[in-house]
């Protein structure tokens, strides 16, 4: 752990030292109004997307976990899917749906004589596209917390005369507030560091965000790393502020909901309204998951988009192409190793910060949280600088990618696990200590199984990020370590959208398949334990 934190700090330091060298970059950025505009856009769009994603995620989680909506399991898995669609593909699907002139929705509206109602190239469009991509993260975190909540807390509220909605608003949500906040801050932070969507949707109308600026900065010559670093620091400051606000909001409150008085799981029964709720969720899913997936599928099977003629060529290439085979293998190896390592590290860090009184644990948490919102592109650059100057030959191997991914995203896992850990009554661990277990075995036998839902969702979460992560890999890969996401990006760069679509389908299937495997496996294990 100290090694890892050192390493992470090393990354940050490399960037920091650049800043120190070129202090005028700071003044350049400060003096230039367009950077301020980018900052403003970032804040506006991120807050908008965060709010929307949080509302959607929380409502979904509550309906799917705490009520008897029909087919909740299936709906939940479907609702998770958007995170397996790489953001830039998802954004493109939305271009096809919501672009002026040719977007499906506009074609429909025009057909109905309603004119062109939607334009995806607007603040709202960007917010919507980003929000539906990050809403599943909020949903996963909140759902894990809801699963761990003692239902008698809700029952007591109902007895007190609160109806279901008010029970949810006054009791359930505040009790899982750490998770909701966690999810919200996470979505904010993902959003400020996101680059595919704003590049695709924002640039055309010159809605620049800080990440877009970093991206263009790095595409230029000569690159101004100073400005990149300053912009990255901007984002870091934003995320530190967000985290600080979160800590402040939760200060001094306790959210223990898993007590030693065992609870009996119980869900809220909705009468006929459950079908209405289900219908609304289905509608949402059609809009956000099924629609885009169909669009992508249609694209994958078309000779070219909207050609009207279909072909298997783009799909058969998935198993005939050597490129696909090797990059797929790389992707799977990198993703699984990195996701597992990230989750383990994330759990350890949260456990240390939540449960121990170890000196320096605040610093540890701070260091881990710092890279949270540095755009991957900038972070990867830091990583490559760092390892280029290190004597070990990690550079150019898959390990540098893995290290980069872990360093950049471990805070996501920390976030997901911490909020769940806060729910576990310490006496459950203490009783194990008294039973004669050291802290390590206590964690293994008691804590881990109890926060398993959160661990799983955090694994699935980072897995989904990694499988489609592009900008982190971009500066770090070589031909041997090329990943699927790079392949689709390259394919995209040369205008082969149909192939890109079929690659995305592959990623989607991979993601959904792994998620399905993980959940069934753990459900079986859980069933065996019960």
């Amino acid at each position: 752990m100290p090694i890892a934190s050192l390493v992470i700090r090393g990354f940050v330091d490399t960037e920091d030292s650049r800043v120190v060298l070129t202090l005028n970059a700071v003044s350049a950025v400060l003096a230039e109004p367009s950077y301020w505009a980018a900052m403003w856009n970032t804040v506006v769009i991120s807050i908008g997307a965060m709010l929307l994603a949080t509302v959607i995620g929380v409502i979904l989680a509550w309906c799917l976990v705490r009520t008897n909506v029909p087919w909740a399991r299936l709906l939940e898995q479907l609702a998770t899917l958007p995170i397996f669609i790489p953001p830039f593909i998802g954004a493109f699907a939305w271009v096809l749906i919501g672009a002026p002139r040719v977007g499906l929705l506009n074609l429909t509206f025009r057909g109905l004589g309603a004119g062109e109602l939607v334009d995806i190239y607007t603040y709202l469009g960007i917010i919507w596209t980003t929000a539906i991509y990050i809403a599943p993260y909020v949903m996963m975190i909140v759902a894990a917390a809801l699963r761990n909540m003692d239902p008698s807390l809700e029952e007591a509220a109902q007895i007190s005369g609160l109806n279901r909605v008010r029970t949810m608003l006054l009791i359930t949500l505040p009790v899982v507030a750490p998770s909701i906040l966690s999810g919200a801050v996470l979505s904010f932070v993902i959003c400020i560091g996101l680059f595919g969507t704003p590049v695709l949707l924002g640039m055309t109308k010159e809605i620049y965000m800080v990440t877009t600026r970093i991206y263009t900065e790095l595409q230029h010559f000569p690159p101004n790393f100073g400005i990149v670093a300053v912009l990255a620091i901007y984002l870091m400051v934003l995320s530190v502020i967000a985290n600080f606000l979160q800590g402040w909001a939760l200060k001094g409150r306790s959210f223990v909901t898993v007590t030693g008085k065992g609870f009996r799981p119980r869900i809220i029964t909705l009468a006929s309204s459950r079908y209405l709720v289900a219908a609304v969720i289905w509608l949402y899913l059609v809009l956000t998951v099924i629609g885009p997936v169909i669009i992508i599928t249609a694209a994958a099977f078309s000779t070219f988009t909207w050609s009207g003629t279909f072909t298997w060529a783009n799909v058969t290439f998935l198993w005939t192409s050597e490129d696909v085979r090797s990059t797929l293998w790389n992707s799977v190896v990198i993703t699984i190793i990195a996701a597992t390592a990230t989750t383990v590290l994330g759990f350890v860090v949260s456990w240390i910060t939540v449960r121990t009184r170890m000196a320096g644990r605040e610093i540890l948490q701070f260091v881990v949280l710092l890279p949270m919102s540095i755009p991957s592109l900038a972070f990867a650059l830091g990583v490559s600088f760092f390892w280029l100057w290190m004597p070990w030959s990690v550079y150019g191997t898959i390990w540098i990618i893995i290290i980069g991914l872990i360093g950049r995203y471990v805070s996501y896992a920390v976030r997901a696990v911490t909020s769940s850990l806060m729910q576990i009554h310490p006496e459950l661990e203490e009783s194990a200590r008294v039973s004669g277990f050291g802290w390590l075995s206590t964690v293994g036998r008691i804590t881990l199984p109890l926060v398993l839902p959160a661990i799983i969702s955090s694994w699935v979460m980072v897995y989904s990020i990694y499988i489609s992560e592009l900008s982190m890999v971009l500066p770090l890969y070589t031909a041997n370590t090329r990943t699927l996401s790079i392949l689709s990006f390259d394919t995209w760069a040369v205008g082969e959208f149909s192939q890109v679509a079929s690659l995305s389908l592959l990623q989607l299937v991979l993601g959904a398949g792994v998620m399905w495997l993980v959940t069934t496996f753990t459900r079986q294990r859980h069933a065996a334990a019960v």
Partner: protein, 358 residues
């Protein structure tokens, strides 16, 4: 607010926690539910509150059906307008003590100032005024339990369900709380269903006791009824301590002689309510035995003290007699040492005969 339960069944998987339960809890009375651990008391309360869905049967509150499997009625908990104290407290961790207690009033949309006042009053009743602004999770076990009681009482509900509400309080506080509950019940005429394992509590609080056994009511009645006139052995043994032994009845009505079965030890003689037949199970409460003067006295049952346990106001003697082991309770200040020989007598009115010999 009377509560009527008809033919209620509640199964968990194949296990019948409530087994065809029919019972009426009277309006404006305190009904105490007693029974062994796991016999279905909590489940009964939860079904009445609407937190658990019975598999069948009907529940009426004040004649209005709130659940009926036949008619497909199932009122949600918040519509049943009752108060409940949970066995696990269910104190909301994100709120302060005040926030917890004020919630039912907020649900009723009571104006702010009034909430503040009533919360303060109720907290004073449970002795938590000083903790009002503490986070609920920083309280000791007993304090949390009191928060949960205050939360239940604050809205003056007409029907109150309490699941072992005083189990973590000390004796003194418990008596205070008990009196508070009594007074409240008299003031607002509430109907209270009260689960407890503390028999003293049960006896002193109950207008009627319902003794549960395996998901059914074994016997119901006033505390004295159940204590002095248990219908079956289970009740006699469950409630308080009982000396039970088989006896043979001789002589005619009005002058029945009771002999320990299979021996010629005369227990007592007198005007005794006889069950059918000559064989019966005799119940003598430990405090009913009179300790005779001295060793060698031929009047009573000779007994040897095996063990004398001091329990404060009483001393429990475990004695060996020709008719088997007996428990005798004497005031705490009377001392006995193991091995002491005493004799026991019993007044005939203090004998209760049970029909079965099992």
């Amino acid at each position: 607010m009377s509560v009527q339960v008809r033919q209620m069944v509640k199964s968990f998987g194949t296990f019948r926690a409530i087994d065809d339960l029919s019972v009426t809890f009277q309006s404006g009375k305190i009904s105490v539910l007693l029974g062994a651990s796991g016999c279905g008391k909590t489940t009964t309360l939860r079904c009445i509150a609407g937190l658990e869905n019975p598999n069948g049967g009907e529940i009426r509150i004040e004649d209005e059906p709130v659940f009926s499997s036949a008619r497909g009625i199932d009122l949600p908990p918040e519509k049943r307008r009752l108060g409940m104290v949970f066995q696990s407290y269910a104190v909301w961790p994100h709120l302060t003590v005040k926030g917890n207690v004020g919630m039912p009033l907020r649900a009723q949309k009571v104006p702010k100032e009034q909430i503040e006042r009533r919360v303060q009053e109720t907290l004073a009743v449970v002795g938590l005024s000083e903790q009002a602004d503490k986070s609920a999770m920083k309280l000791s076990g007993g304090q949390q339990q009191r928060v949960s009681i205050a939360r239940c009482l604050v809205g003056n509900p007409r029907l109150i369900l309490m699941d072992e509400p005083l189990s973590n309080l000390d004796a003194r506080l418990r008596v205070e709380m008990r009196n508070e509950i009594r007074q409240l019940q008299q003031r607002i005429g509430a109907t209270i269903l009260f689960v407890t394992h503390d028999q003293e509590e049960a006896m002193s609080l109950a207008d009627e006791i319902f003794l549960f056994n395996k998901g059914k009511v074994e016997q119901q009645g006033s505390p004295e009824d159940l204590y002095f006139r248990p219908a079956v052995r289970y009740v006699a043994e469950f409630l308080g301590k009982a000396n039970l032994f088989p006896v043979t009845l001789r002589g005619e009505a009005g002058q029945t002689a009771i002999y320990a079965a299979g021996s010629d030890h005369l227990i007592t003689k007198g005007d005794i309510v006889r069950p059918r037949g000559d064989e019966a199970l005799c119940m003598i409460r430990p405090e009913s035995w009179q300790i005779g003067l001295a060793e060698g006295d031929r009047v009573g049952l000779p007994a040897t003290v095996l063990e004398a346990v001091f329990v404060g106001d009483r001393r429990e003697l475990h004695v060996d007699t020709p008719i088997g082991r007996q428990i005798v309770v004497t005031p705490g200040h009377q001392r006995f040492s193991a091995g002491a020989r005493i004799s026991l007598t019993i007044a005939s009115q203090q004998i209760h005969l049970l029909p079965d010999r099992l």
